[in-house]
């Protein structure tokens, strides 16, 4: 009897032992909260800049006021123990000997007016300028906000974010690892690398793009696209094509074009709708797409082509010289893991390279 009881007990223990952690977690929950869903974050590119500006206005304004009234550099500390330096308008940053030698400033910098930064220097704290922010070459900035323009030299590194309420101009071979945005214009030099950028107008190196040709000037001269084979169409001009789709040069189509493989829009062609290729999409020289351009792999925009809607590729986007994406009235987005843009292109809106963006030299 004892043996049987022991056997039963052993079996019960062997059965329940693996369930012990589950039973304990059930009876004494240690991880029962709902999954954290961020509801207040809308994904705006200037989210950090806006938060920082709010912080400066609510917490740090007394330092700025004191710097203006004293007319000299003021030092102070933040609630979290960090140090800050407040400068009056148009004054030069004075540093202690050790920091000047190391060419690194760890304090948060506040400028009551325009602020000029020295060249070849590391700023590991945030920078705020209530006016324009200028800097020489080879600067490394953690984050910077200017209510006016930002003008930085070649080989500038931005580690987290940079925002100018006016224009932001960054020199050649800059590296923008975080978010960069501007209220009016963003100008990026050749050979630069970027992640996420936004401005109503983004220019890549200071080459002016060709003026866009009005659609009504040319539409009467180009032919309507002929219905391809193997097409599945719906009433609204949406064509679904099995295999490759080639839109002949100097033709136009009203509606969306979708190819299960590659899609090529010929030179001078015009699509009054969106295009999608489940592999690659090529917009030939001077072609125009009024809607989105979506590719399962790669989007290539050749010289002087235009796209008004978003450009989405799952591998790479290549944009040639003279191309225009979006319009001032209808800003849009370019998104892909890798984006390569030639000097002379113009984008109105957002450019988001998840892995690497590059301005060709």
């Amino acid at each position: 009897m004892v043996a049987l009881t022991l056997l039963a007990l052993s079996c019960a223990v062997l059965f329940l032992l693996p369930l012990a952690p589950a039973l304990l977690e059930w009876l004494r929950p240690s991880d029962a909260a709902p999954l954290n869903v961020v509801r207040e974050y809308g994904g705006q590119i200037n989210h950090f800049a806006t938060s920082f500006q709010r912080f400066v206005k609510t917490q740090l304004q007394p330092f700025l006021d004191q710097a203006v009234s004293d007319g000299t550099q003021v030092e102070g500390s933040l609630p979290n123990g960090g140090q800050l330096i407040a400068l009056p308008s148009n004054s030069k940053l004075r540093q202690k000997g050790q920091e000047a030698n190391a060419r690194e400033t760890t304090q948060l910098i506040l400028g009551a007016g325009d602020l000029t930064l020295p060249s070849s220097h590391i700023f590991s704290g945030e920078i705020y300028a209530h006016g324009a922010l200028c800097g020489g070459s080879s600067l490394i900035l953690r984050a910077a906000l200017a209510t006016g323009d930002i003008r930085l030299g070649a080989e500038t590194y931005v580690l987290r974010w940079l925002h100018a309420d006016g224009k932001a101009m960054l020199g050649e071979s800059s590296r923008l690892y975080g978010r960069v945005s501007a209220g009016q214009l963003l100008l990026l030099g050749a050979g630069s690398r970027f992640g996420r950028m936004y401005a109503p107008r983004i220019e890549f190196s200071p080459l002016a793009p060709p003026a866009p040709v009005s659609q009504f000037q040319t539409l009467h001269r180009i032919k309507t696209l002929e219905t391809p084979d193997q097409v599945r169409s719906s009433g609204d001009g949406r064509w679904l094509v099995k295999g490759d789709l080639v839109v002949a040069d100097e033709t136009w189509h009203r509606g969306h074009l979708i190819a299960s493989a590659d899609l090529r829009v010929g030179a001078g062609a015009f699509i009054a709708g969106s295009v999608k290729g489940n592999r690659n999409v090529l917009l030939n020289v001077g072609s125009r797409v009024h809607g989105s351009v979506v590719a399962g792999a790669r989007v290539v925009m050749e010289r002087n082509s235009q796209a008004m809607g978003p450009i989405v590729a799952e591998d790479m986007v290549e944009i040639g010289a003279g191309c225009v994406v979006g319009t001032p009235g209808h800003p849009t987005t370019i998104t892909a893991p890798r984006i390569r843009i030639a000097p002379g292109a113009v984008v109105h809106g957002s450019v988001w390279a998840r892995e690497e963006g590059e301005v060709l030299a």
Binding site: L19, E40, G43, L240, G273, S274, V294, T333
Partner: protein, 531 residues
């Protein structure tokens, strides 16, 4: 095409049956050790001489194995040695059929197990697709947000507040609460909001007509003229950026529908809600995202999702006779050349059932709807030209998901039946294998692996300890689905019973706000890690 289908079916059925039987012969010969003077000849195919088969007297020629036409099959000799019945009441033919069915069920379970593994491995190590999540600027299309509400006085205000606060051009969004025959204060609450926010909310009060969400959606969609329709249930509380995230995929002209991720809010209520939280994680974080990654068929889920109006019109609108309007829509769009997109980072809280009866009713409703869609679309999908191979296979497996529960029960029954009725020892081996595979399909190996991976990707830790208890949840679902299927096929259809719309119970108290979250983007769960 249907004629071809009809012609093909008998041939396919015969081929499968003969193949299964032949496989059985080989298995038997390899493992037979019964008392009967069975021909214990180790068989390799080229020397199949003097081996009794169920062909009767006809012996296959040497050096080759021929399949006799089905019509020429003869009754099994009583002492053939092949799956012979031990019971006089059960004929040998019955046991052959039972064995063939058991092997068929066994094969299906293996397929579904492999599918679970494939999805999980893809989610853990494959390339993740989130092509539209970064679109933050565009010429946004016009949107109507439908909030399905039937007796939702406890939650409708929260939902409207949250939707009024979303970041979307106000002139391009219209909120339309669909008050479907509510008998509580839902109408009054909606009207109060309409008065407070003039021009932003267009209420749709429905006092009659066919019951159910599909019918209500069908009615309201006649009034919608926007490019995109986004649908929420009244207990959902969207975040600020959610509408843009859900609309962004419609900038791709190939997409007809979008689905976001549903996250349980009341996880801490009791064991059931915690188990459902794990199950939902597996379903969305792994299943749906893997389908998205692999260009398969992510499923539109009926809420936290949307549909393009042009796509909806091209397939004839909502079907008010669909028991699961979401599944129905997914497949009709697929067959018409539209894709459904899953946005794993478009998350929204929902309430999950807090009591087992409510859960059972919910899953029974889903099962009936899914089975209805399977019967309507499986054959069309199989022979559809515009659908890729991956979509075809995944779509069929997805349609069959709820049919697996009754099949699994059938398999168990068959295994037990054969175990007691048939003399052959190898069947006990099959029984063990079947039991193992059932276990794998139910719990430890496949679905459990999927849930574990999902919890890991979500960045949670201790809740994974509850995993073994999910077995009970699975078993209850198994029985509920089997019961729903049985009722559907043998009562609802035979007796022409119509579905009684069964609204899921809400647990939130009126005025209570859902758990807010202010975590900065950098501290989010999986999103950053798997980007």
């Amino acid at each position: 095409m249907p004629k071809l289908t009809l012609r093909l079916f008998p041939a396919i059925a015969r081929t499968i049956a003969v193949g299964l039987a032949l496989a059985s012969c080989q298995l038997y010969a390899a493992s037979s050790s019964g008392e009967e003077p069975a021909p214990v000849v180790p068989i390799t195919l080229p020397v199949m001489q003097d081996f009794p088969t169920y062909y009767g007297d006809a012996v296959p020629p040497k050096q080759s194995l021929r399949i006799k036409p089905f019509s020429e099959w003869q009754p099994l000799p009583s002492k053939s040695g092949f799956v012979s019945s031990q019971l006089p009441q059960i004929s040998n033919e019955t046991t052959v059929v039972a064995l063939a069915l058991l092997l068929l069920v066994f094969s299906l379970i293996v397929v579904y197990t492999l599918r679970h593994y494939y999805f999980t491995v893809n989610r853990l190590f494959g390339r993740q697709r989130h092509p539209y999540v970064d679109i933050d600027m565009a010429d946004w299309p016009t949107v109507t947000v439908l909030i399905a509400a039937h007796n939702e006085e406890a939650v409708i205000a929260n939902s409207l507040e949250a939707l009024l606060d979303v970041e979307y051009p106000p002139e391009r969004i219209r909120l339309m609460p669909v008050n479907d025959r509510s008998t509580d204060c839902t109408k009054e609450i909606i009207d109060r909001y309409v008065a407070r926010f003039p021009g932003r909310i267009t209420p749709f009060h429905r006092s009659g007509g066919k019951p159910g969400k599909s019918a209500a959606l069908k009615d309201v969609c006649e009034l919608v003229d926007s490019d995109v329709i986004i649908i929420f249930d009244a207990d959902y509380v969207p975040g600020k950026g959610l509408i843009k995230q859900l609309v962004a995929p419609f900038l791709d002209p190939e997409n007809g529908a979008v689905m976001g991720r549903v996250v349980p809010l009341n996880t801490g209520s009791n064991l059931l809600t915690r188990l459902l939280d794990l199950e939902r994680s597996g379903g969305y974080q792994v299943d749906q995202q893997a389908r998205m990654n692999l260009h398969m068929v992510p499923q539109y889920g009926g809420t936290v999702g949307g549909v393009r109006r042009a796509a909806l019109e091209s397939i004839g609108g909502w079907r008010d006779d669909a028991l699961a309007e979401d599944t129905d829509l997914t497949y009709r769009l697929l067959l018409a050349g539209w894709k459904t997109v899953y946005q794993n980072r478009s998350e929204c809280y929902e309430e999950v059932p807090e009591s087992w009866p409510v859960r059972v009713r919910q899953i029974m409703r889903w099962a009936k709807g899914h089975n209805q869609a399977a019967l309507r679309y499986a054959v069309r999908l199989l022979f559809s030209r515009g659908v890729s191979f991956a979509e075809r296979v995944d779509g069929l497996l997805l349609l069959g998901v709820y049919a697996m529960s009754p099949l699994l029960l059938l398999g168990w029954g068959l295994a037990i039946f054969l175990f007691y009725c048939v003399s052959n020892q190898w069947l006990s081996g099959a029984l063990i294998m079947f039991a193992l595979m059932s276990y794998g399909a139910l719990g430890n190996f496949a679905a459990y692996f999927e849930i574990s991976a999902a919890v890991y990707l979500d960045g949670n830790r201790n809740r994974i300890r509850l995993l073994p208890l999910n077995l009970f949840g699975f078993l209850i679902s198994l029985l509920a689905i089997a019961r729903a299927t049985w009722n559907q096929f043998f009562f609802d259809w035979l007796l022409r019973r119509s579905l009684v719309w069964d609204k899921t119970v809400r647990y939130r108290q009126p005025g209570a706000t859902p758990a807010p979250s202010e975590a900065p983007p950098g501290l989010r769960h999986q999103a950053g890690r798997l980007g």
